[in-house]
């Protein structure tokens, strides 16, 4: 049993030192040397931007650490303090998780990026010919249009591929029914973003019609992607807010969020992070470095930092 005894000894030693290590009261003036924990999610622009922001912090003399995290659950982690910042809070997809966490306390709204976001149903540009009248939503009322989007399991109706149910629940099916398109169209939930991109690639090869859920800024912007123009969004028009659901998605914010202790522990970094503001073009360029130029996320971040030194140096003053 020497192995078990050895392990017990190791546990004890580990615990003793862990207890010691929590005593880091020697706080210097300025930023703490504790690492800033930056979450990475599973889409390219976010990961690259995480490394870009990490690089900026490092240039400022901070320590950084990256942790893969789920994009919805991350706000709870920030609240508890497992993660320090979030740099892409999309209004339509994560607004609800974010505001819930905000109400519970422990997380701070740290300002908006310059980029505006749109998340809605749309189609790659080459599909336009299959449904004359797009991008106006009334074109969808035409049965001849719907029949170009039929799939084997759609029961003869046109099929729209919505993202995972996690993202906005029943919003799109409710909208389709509210607009009276329910007889011609059916909404299918994909299981992941991968499923959306696979559908996009497959539809292109096959040259068939497809309407999918997508967002901008995204790597698809480059190849041409148009969002359907639904009736404009007004506050309270969604069923969950008591409205009739006959409206599209809002022109949304892209926010930054931080753990409530961050400004106290890292005042310098927090100040820089507050000033950070990326534009749609910059975010698109980051995503394109990975998705189109096939660079790794780290390399893309390095290249972006090298190419845009004037941009981020300005935030550091």
């Amino acid at each position: 049993m020497p192995m078990i005894i050895g392990l017990i000894v190791l546990v004890v030693i580990g615990l003793v030192f862990f207890m010691q290590s929590t005593d880091k009261s020697a706080k210097k003036a300025g930023d703490s040397a504790e690492p800033i924990v930056i979450p990475t999610h599973n889409w390219s622009s976010q990961v690259v931007m995480a490394y870009v922001i990490g690089g900026i912090f490092e240039a400022n003399g901070n320590n950084v650490k990256y942790v893969p995290a789920d994009s919805q659950a991350v706000y709870e982690s920030i609240r508890i303090g497992d993660v320090t910042i979030s740099h892409e809070v999309w209004e339509s997809a994560f607004g609800k998780s974010f505001t819930t966490a905000l109400d519970k306390g422990g997380i701070l709204d740290w300002g908006d990026h310059e980029a505006r976001t749109l998340e809605d149903m749309g189609y790659p540009d080459w599909v336009a010919a299959k449904c004359p009248g797009l991008p106006d939503w009334t074109a969808l009322k035409n049965p001849d249009c719907a029949k170009n989007f039929v799939t084997p399991d759609s029961g003869g109706k046109g099929r729209m591929l919505e993202g995972p149910q996690t993202w906005h629940g029943d919003l799109i099916p409710q909208r389709i029914d509210a607009l009276g398109l329910g007889d011609l169209w059916v909404v299918k939930f994909a299981g992941s973003a991968d499923a959306l991109w696979a559908e996009l690639a497959a539809a292109k090869k096959e040259d068939r019609g497809t309407i999918i859920f997508n967002w901008t800024p995204n790597f698809t912007d480059g190849a041409g992607f148009t969002f359907i123009k639904f009736p404009p969004y007004t506050a309270g028009c969604r069923p969950e807010d008591g409205g009739d659901g006959k409206c599209g998605s809002p022109d949304g914010y892209l926010k930054k969020a931080v753990n409530a202790d961050f400004p106290k522990t890292h005042p310098g970094a927090a100040d820089i992070f507050k000033k950070m503001s990326f534009s749609t073009g910059q975010i698109g360029a980051m995503a394109a470095l990975v998705d189109l130029d096939k660079m790794t996320h780290e390399d893309a971040a390095k290249k972006w930092l090298a190419d845009n030194e004037s941009v981020w140096k300005a935030w550091m003053n």
């Binding site: 320590n63 789920d70 149910q165």
Partner: protein
């Protein structure tokens, strides 16, 4: 009457089916009935009925009670959620001094404890990781971040890949010999040359923590269960449920309790890996014959000595199978745990898939399989190794391997230093081949998928349309058409006919739990996909297994293929399948069939192998042909064993149907996926997982009972 006496079971089955169909036809589909596609059960709607229990409001669509039972257990997930939330956020708040902000902070006790446990886990993981890759966290654990920032030299350097590769090969040589040493070296070189070194070592570092811990906990719990009836009784139901629970469902509560990161990955891996270890320890210890124990006692063993010197060595065979299972499970969790923050191959694989880079994902997936097989073989060799006691060895003979390893460290270090002069542009290939700077065959595989797509697309599409409209959709509709009462009667009746009143109660209870949960419709869809997958998998597995078993070499080849596919992350083939068959049930089912055929094949081969050779000879001497022998002797005798394979096939199929949620399904899996992102998802994820586990257990109970009876009847075992 003659017939009835001769085949009583047959008539019982017939009677059961008649009652079942009579019920199906007698109960009409209510007009308001509609399969709930979205999350309507969480939305307020005037058509819904409500009840309040334990202060929790449960909303649901009421139907005739024969058609769908009301969700009387609907409060359970909400209640678990609130309980968890209370435990983590409100129970026993305590004041803690936060040195970073220089103020006191209230933190609930459980949160603080769970964070302390995780800090320790993180320490272990980082220690191993930094020995392999280098870094500062270990030194930080003993000093502080300020110290590390002040002294840049204070960090572990990490081993160059040449040293680790040589070390692995020498260790393999010592444990088993040349064959394994060559395999170890090839695996390490493959990983390095393909630029997967860093993620592989990251994955390895959390597995090297999770696997030994699972082994220790599993073994000690197994011993405790062996010694005390009470512990065993308490553990048994948990073990059963955990065996059929989809790994994916464990993620949600784990994330709530332990947060995200590598430590959480270690914890869920342990949760999944410990049950089989306990079970196999228990089986092994039970198998130790009383004579052996007597002999131990007579030689004056103390309790501890009896355990370590007598019981465990004797039960070694089963404990070893347990170790093998632990390692396999750890690697099968490598990708799934990436969802809650594990770094390494799993995360890279998910990122590659997100860019539809199938080739890159394939390479990462292959690394996982290869390391798993290597570790598995090494642990087996280690356990099987006999200690040699030779007195008169020279210094060289005794410390041969240590000397070689020392030499390898020296050469590796020199090479790495030499490399740092040679490779100027920042990548020292003799130290570590950076990620994605190695060779890659990704383009080849991606082109391969494109080629398949372009060439076979027309046929695939025709087949897909036919399958969906003619087979899958009607099948799904049939399952949903079953009134809940009819399903209950069918399951209870089957339990009664197969295993008597006891079995009938067990399976009836399990079914009732699902029927009373808010997700009966979803469970039916899960069952429909699992049934279809199991039928096809078993057919393929049975035929392939039987054919391969005819020859020794094909047998070994097939078992090797099974090994690779079992550890190969299924996510990799989800994407190409999805491109070919679209976001449809077909895609999910193909993934299910690929995965579930493994146990079907394996158990067919092992079942046929287990037929005693003496019987073969006896049969041949009585002059039967090969075919006759196969059908009259081998199949009947191997059948009970093959049925256990069916059992495993069902479990595998259920796992994969749940993972199919990533393609897009409308079953329990979709809600489990949803629970993962839901802040209040802990309870839902757990109850959904239990529902899936119960589906598996219903079949498990029926098959096991039948197998036992059949074995008694055949006089084997």
């Amino acid at each position: 009457m003659e017939l009835l006496k001769k085949y009583p079971k047959l008539f019982q089955w017939l009677f059961l089916l008649i009652v079942f169909f009579a019920l199906c036809f007698a109960i009409d589909v209510p007009e308001t009935y509609k399969f709930i596609r979205g999350q309507a059960e969480f939305i307020k709607d005037p058509n819904q009925s409500t009840y309040i229990l334990f202060g929790k409001e449960v909303r649901y669509y009421a139907f005739d009670n024969f058609w769908r039972l009301p969700p009387l257990l609907g409060w359970l997930p909400i209640w678990i959620n609130d309980g968890l939330f209370f435990l983590l956020n409100e129970w026993m708040p305590m004041e803690f001094w936060d040195s970073a902000t220089q103020e006191y902070k209230t933190r609930p006790l459980v949160l603080q404890i769970s964070r302390n446990i995780t800090a320790f886990m993180t320490f272990l993981i980082e220690l191993i990781r930094e020995i392999l890759l280098g870094g500062v966290e270990t030194i930080v654990a003993f000093t502080s971040w300020n110290f590390v920032s002040a002294y840049p030299w204070a960090k572990l350097p990490g081993l160059p890949w040449t040293i680790v590769a040589a070390g692995a090969a020498i260790l393999a040589y010592k444990l088993s010999g040349k064959g394994l040493a060559i395999f170890a070296a090839l695996v390490m070189i493959y990983i390095s040359v393909f630029g997967q070194w860093k993620p592989s070592m990251q994955t390895l570092s959390f597995i090297l923590v999770a696997a030994p811990l699972s082994f220790i906990f599993g073994l000690s719990l197994g011993v405790m269960a062996y010694k005390s009836k009470r512990v065993e009784k308490a553990l048994y139901p948990i073990l059963l449920v955990m065996q059929t629970m989809p790994q994916y469902a464990v993620l949600v509560p784990a994330m709530v309790l332990f947060g995200i990161g590598d430590h959480a990955a270690v914890i869920i891996t342990m949760v999944v890996a410990i049950p089989p270890m306990i079970l196999l320890t228990l089986i092994g210890l039970r198998g130790v014959s009383p004579e052996v124990i007597e002999a131990g006692k007579m030689s004056g063993c103390s309790n501890w000595q009896l355990l370590t010197e007598v019981l465990i060595p004797t039960a070694r065979r089963d404990i070893l199978i347990g170790v093998n299972q632990v390692i396999m499970v750890c690697f099968s969790m490598a990708v799934i745990s990436a969802f809650i923050g594990a770094k390494g191959l799993g995360w890279n694989l998910l990122l590659a898939l997100n860019q539809l880079n199938i080739g890159l994902a394939l390479e990462a997936g292959l690394c996982i399989s290869l390391i798993a097989i290597l570790l598995d073989k090494m642990s087996l060799a280690w356990a099987n190794k006999q200690t040699d006691y030779f007195g008169n060895l020279t210094f060289y003979q005794r410390y041969k391997n240590t000397i070689f390893f020392g030499g390898a460290v020296l050469i590796g270090a020199i090479l790495a230093i030499f490399g740092s002069f040679f490779f100027k542009e920042g990548f020292n290939y003799l130290y570590e081949v950076p990620h994605n700077k190695g060779i890659s065959t990704a383009d080849f595989w991606n082109k391969g998928v494109d080629w398949i797509f372009d060439t076979f697309f027309v046929y695939i599409k025709a087949f897909n349309t036919w399958l969906i409209t003619e087979v899958l959709q009607p099948m799904r509709a049939l399952y949903l058409r079953m009134p809940a009462v009819a399903t209950l009667v069918l399951v209870v009746g089957a339990g009664y006919i197969i295993g008597g009143i006891r079995s009938a109660f067990t399976v009836g209870g399990l079914t009732l739990f699902i029927a009373l949960s808010p997700w009966w419709d979803r469970a039916l869809v899960t069952t429909y996909m699992a049934t279809f997958g199991v039928i096809i998998s078993c057919t393929i597995g049975f035929i392939v297994g039987t054919l391969c078993q005819q020859n020794k070499y094909t047998t070994n080849f097939m078992l090797g293929v099974c090994d690779i596919f079992q550890t190969f992350p299924s996510f990799v083939y989800l994407i190409p399948v999805m491109m070919l068959f679209g976001v449809t049930d077909t895609s999910v089912l193909i993934a299910v069939i690929v995965y579930a055929t493994i146990p079907a094949t394996r158990y067919t081969i092992e079942g046929l192998r287990s037929v005693p050779a003496a019987l073969h000879d006896a049969a041949t001497m009585s002059g039967v042909t090969k075919l006759q022998r196969l059908f009259k002797i081998e199949f009947p005798l191997a059948f009970p064993h093959m049925m256990l394979g069916l059992n495993q096939t069902i479990v595998f199929a259920l796992f994969m149907v749940i993972i199919g949620a990533f393609i897009g399904t409308e079953d329990l899996g979709q809600y489990i996926l949803k629970a993962l992102s839901d802040k209040a998802g802990g309870g839902k994820g757990l109850v959904l997982g239990i529902c899936v586990a119960f589906i598996g257990l219903i079949f498990d109970n029926l098959i096991r009972t039948w197998v036992e009876k059949r074995k008694k009847h055949l006089g084997i075992d």
